[in-house]
Amino acid sequence: MNMAFEDLSDRLQGAMTKIGKKGKITEADLKEMMREVRLALLEADVNFKVVKDFVRKVNERALGSDILESLSPAQQVVKIVNEELTELMGGEQEPFVFAKKPPTVVMMVGLQGAGKTTTAGKIANYMKKRENKRPLLAAADVYRPAAIDQLQTIGQQLDFPVYSKGTEANPVDIAREAVEEARLTGRDLVIIDTAGRLHVDDVLMTELKNIKTAIQPDEILFTVDAMTGQDAVNVAKAFNEQLDITGVVLTKLDGDTRGGSALSIRSITGKPIKFTGQGEKLDDIEPFYPDRMASRILGMGDMLTLIERA
């Protein structure tokens, strides 16, 4: 865990100590605590607009409850924050969607370097192990130097076929033909790797829309680096508006980032986070656990203990 910033419970305790033990807290005290909540979320890279809405919500709930009578208001606030955060994160784990009639078609999209190609391999690996799927990977990134080599190496490591047509072919054709190839060869899961692109690059965003139209994917997974800062909302909003994504993959969570961008993306798009990347190896993928993410953003591994003590 990231030790660079204080966790929320410490902050709230600190705020309470500053106020002084009074047994009851006033609305002004609550305001002070909300300031700490706001700070903790901002340091975790949650977008400031999302923070604002969130803090307003927590504040209303705290005011409406019997918090003002509580003997341990800091813990009460932590509890409310955690519950609201988990709720916002989606509450429940959302399942991956399989096609009624195989093959299931998945499209990986996102900014440059987010982890699309690696995650394509991880999902294929995961689905083979858990769901007994027979994946085909498709190399539709014709721009990044050696992107095809990268996917082919991953395919070799996992022993899955990789459909590619070199760098001269059109990504829309590659995607369409890959799905056809899967039908012909009895592959029931096709994962299409696309090139990284900026959300403001109209030409390349149109290319993604064209791929989508051509292959009607069951899942469009917006892949995003957990370390992303305030800009996460702009990127996620643009990808969602243009492609109507079906889910999010949050990568590089094996780092020490708080990952507040997860909250921003979730609240801006309303789309579920389906997987998390936990390392560079092809096994390093996990389903998304909303409650764990909530604790992580707040920097509170031991939150449950704290709440129990409350």
Partner: protein, 301 residues
């Protein structure tokens, strides 16, 4: 529909119906800075200075307030001394530059772009494919070497990167190259073993080149939020980071965290990455960067 709303547009909005400088004003200003990833502490530092200014001399115009914001930010970045973002050279032969950073930030691409720049300056450049770990990493650097027209030393995938670096140093010296640019695998700063591997690479460079690498450049992705500050601190601890490169500034992210890094550490930004093409690497100019952040508001008046 445009989803992009730049920092400068937001600052402009802030000053649009210029109003009394009250608490709401400072709240809004703070939001503008935070949305550029400047970070909370840095944002407060800037707004505190302004608060003090307003207290001492109230009744300023919007224009004056704007100028103070820019001035203060440049001042914080420059810390009183103007660092020209020059790249140190080894006066006695091979100049070794090591590129480090977390996964996917743009190390390999930046090496390609920088090699192109050096080659155009008439330098003899050698690349070292020190990322033997990630799938396709060697091939990626080979494509860049071919594109630029420079040589590259490679070894088999999964081989020891330190051994590769050793080979590249030998070749660099024997064949009288001017520059050796060493690519390394992306690694998160909290991975102790991977960070140790960088120490080993450094020891080999130091053994072969008196004084070691002329530069160790930490590549940062402008899209990254406050974690970049931790990256800078951790990489600085294991490798003697001499400069930063801020990539992907062609998107909508501003990379404002470099101001916070700069405030805490003595590491200047040397280059910025503005795209994926050969020409998309520019020397960092702090005034231009900060001017870029607040451009709209300067030009309007």
């Amino acid at each position: 529909e445009k989803t992009r709303k730049s920092f400068s547009e937001k600052i402009n909005e802030l000053f649009a119906g210029f109003r009394e400088i009250d608490e709401d004003f400072f709240d809004d200003l703070e939001e503008v800075l935070i949305s550029a990833d400047v970070g909370f502490d840095m944002t407060i530092a800037i707004s505190d200075v302004l608060r003090e200014e307003m207290r001492v001399r109230p009744g300023r115009t919007g224009e004056e307030v704007k100028n103070i914001i820019i001035e203060k930010m440049v001042e914080i970045y420059e810390k009183g001394e103007i660092d020209l973002p020059v790249i140190n050279e080894n006066p006695n032969g091979l100049t070794v530059i090591l590129f480090v950073g977390v996964n996917g930030v743009g190390k390999t691409t930046t090496i390609g772009k920088y090699a192109y720049k050096l080659k155009n300056e008439g330098k003899k450049v050698l690349l070292a494919a020190g990322d033997t770990f990630r799938a396709g990493a060697i091939e990626q650097l080979e494509v860049w070497a071919e594109r630029v027209g420079v040589d590259v030393v490679t070894n088999a995938a999964k081989s020891d990167p330190a051994a590769l670096v050793f080979d590249a140093l030998k070749k660099g010296k024997a064949d009288h190259y001017d520059y050796l640019l060493i690519d390394t695998a992306g690694r998160l700063q909290n991975k102790v073993n991977l960070m140790k591997e960088l120490e080993k690479i450094n020891r080999i460079i130091e053994r072969e080149i008196p004084g070691g690498a002329s530069e160790t450049l930490l590549v940062l992705d402008a899209t990254t939020g406050q974690n970049a500050l931790i990256q800078a601190k951790q990489f600085k601890e294991t490798t003697n980071v001499t400069g930063l490169i801020l990539t992907k500034l062609d998107g909508t992210a501003k990379g404002g965290v470099i101001l916070a890094i700069r405030q805490e550490m003595e590491i200047p930004v040397k280059f910025v990455g503005l795209g994926e093409g050969l020409n998309d690497l520019q020397t960092f100019d702090p005034e231009q960067y900060i001017y870029g952040l607040v451009k709209g508001l300067v030009e309007k008046n």
